[in-house]
């Protein structure tokens, strides 16, 4: 059974239908890339999974558990949302690190807060975990730096460590390299690649087509709020079935 099942997600902003009947699933340990033109609804989809937007209808299952049945059950309470969204982690396009905390504190803060009053994990263990993650991100020497002292690529790697610290079942990336100078995208993509090699279950929205083709097990092409085409990367990028996919990809090949 797939780790994540998304069924019939719809989302409207006023009269604009941004997501129309989105269905897909994702297996444990796999990486799913979502590509598509600007405005096609990719960010909105990730935001729905992370409960930053509330879909108008649709269901989300993780690990066989029905997390959300929008439009059916009554709207989830704040506290319910808070625990359910922890199934997912989200890495934003523009990092959103907490500027007043050191790199290490950025990674440990949320874990410590969740652990409050439970005392399941010692704070020293949380710090040790965070250090291991930073090491994995190649940032061991930066744990005492503040976000503004880091390059964009380093900031994004801290953000990835921060998201991983909560051990989400599915890690979502929303164009993790779009805010970076071209020479810094490589270091972030390498980190995502290494996560894929370790079979982290990931959902990656990206405009880096070569990267998507290389790292993803499955690719979804979205246009105007619907999934137009999906399949293994070699098929979607190599022999797209749909005219719209071909058009989109050829625009990218020409550097548009």
């Amino acid at each position: 059974m797939p780790l994540l099942v998304v069924e019939g997600i719809e989302k409207r902003f006023d009269h604009l239908e941004v997501l129309k009947n989105i269905n897909f699933s994702l297996d444990q340990g796999k990486a799913l890339a979502i590509i598509g033109a600007s405005g096609s609804g990719k960010t909105t989809l990730l935001r729905c999974l992370n409960f930053l937007e509330y879909p108008d209808s649709g269901r989300i299952w993780v690990d066989g558990e029905l997390l959300l049945d929008a439009g059916q059950q009554k709207r989830l309470s704040e506290a319910d949302v808070r625990f359910r969204r922890l199934n997912f982690g989200l890495v934003f396009q523009s990092f959103h690190l907490f500027p007043q905390y050191t790199v290490l504190r950025n990674v440990t803060l949320a874990v410590e807060l969740l652990n409050r009053g439970k005392e399941q994990t010692k704070n020293s263990a949380i710090v040790a975990d965070a250090r291991a993650l930073l090491n994995q991100m190649g940032l061991s020497d930066k744990e005492n730096a503040y976000p503004h002292q880091l390059s964009g690529g380093q900031q994004q790697r801290v953000a990835i460590a921060r998201a991983l610290a909560l051990k989400p079942k599915i890690l979502c990336f929303d164009e993790p390299t779009s805010a970076l100078d071209p020479e810094l995208t490589g270091e972030v993509l390498r980190v995502v690649r290494s996560l894929a090699d370790k079979h982290t279950t990931m959902l990656i929205v990206t405009h880096e087509m070569a990267f998507a083709r290389d790292v993803a097990d499955h690719v979804i092409f979205m246009d105007q709020g619907i999934i137009v085409e999906e399949g293994p990367p070699d098929q979607v990028f190599g022999q797209p079935k749909e005219e719209r996919t071909r058009q989109f990809l050829s625009r990218y090949a020409q550097g548009g």
Binding site: F83, L86, L113, L166
Partner: protein
């Protein structure tokens, strides 16, 4: 002829009134300003509109006028004597007027500071499973403080000088006291009040400078 020591002593004494008005105004208008800021940002539209309208009126009219109205209105409109009687009534009325006026100014500073924090900061906290309270205390608050310190510093310094407006309802604050000596042909007491203000504002400037320096370690 009054001796120099006596005059300086009296100036000191009357400056206490300026200081009391200053500290009482700060004490009440800071929390009240935060409350007004939340009101103006409320998603409940009538409350937001009402609050914004109130702030607009208070900021759009002279503090002097507000002091006069708050002091005289209850008596003239037969509302009893909410401020009590005698000198303390004058001081209470002035304090109330100052608190209302300054909470409105502070509320605008708070609102700007809170709304200036990028929404992504809240969302980052949310996806990390933090509660609204945790996000405010752990993520937003310090960023807001850092953002508003320069504006707060300006406003607080203005408040020090504004305390002299209390003389409009015959509160014998330092300027009024000094002015009395012009009747004796003395101008220096008036000049010397400037020193009182300069010293106190100098201290405040140092305090705010230190606070800003303390928060220099990060960027927003």
């Amino acid at each position: 002829m009054t001796s120099v020591q006596t005059i300086i002593g009296r100036l000191f004494g009357s400056f206490q009134l300026n200081l009391q008005l200053f500290f009482l105004t700060l004490l009440f208008s800071l929390p009240l300003g935060l409350l007004i800021a939340f009101g103006a940002m409320s998603r409940f539209k009538p409350l937001a509109l009402l609050t914004k309208g109130f702030v607009w009126v208070i900021r759009g009219t002279p503090l002097l006028l507000q002091v006069l109205i708050i002091f005289f209105a209850p008596g003239l409109l037969d509302w009893g004597a909410p401020w009590g009687s005698g000198m303390s009534a004058r001081f209470t009325a002035a304090t109330v007027a100052f608190v209302i006026n300054y909470s409105c100014y502070f509320s605008e500073i708070f609102r700007g500071g809170i709304q200036g924090v990028p929404h992504g900061q809240m969302e980052a906290g949310q996806v990390l499973g933090m509660t609204k309270g945790q996000i405010f205390r752990r993520v937003t608050l310090l960023q807001v403080i850092k953002r508003i310190l320069p504006a707060m510093s300006n406003e607080v310094i203005t408040l020090v000088k504004d305390t002299s407006l209390a003389r409009i309802i015959s509160i014998k604050e330092i300027l009024m006291m000094a002015q009395e000596y012009t009747g004796q042909g003395l101008i220096w007491p008036l000049f010397s009040t400037g020193i009182f203000f300069l010293v106190f504002i100098g201290i405040l400037t140092i305090v705010f400078g230190r606070l800003e320096k303390r928060l220099d370690y990060f960027r927003v």
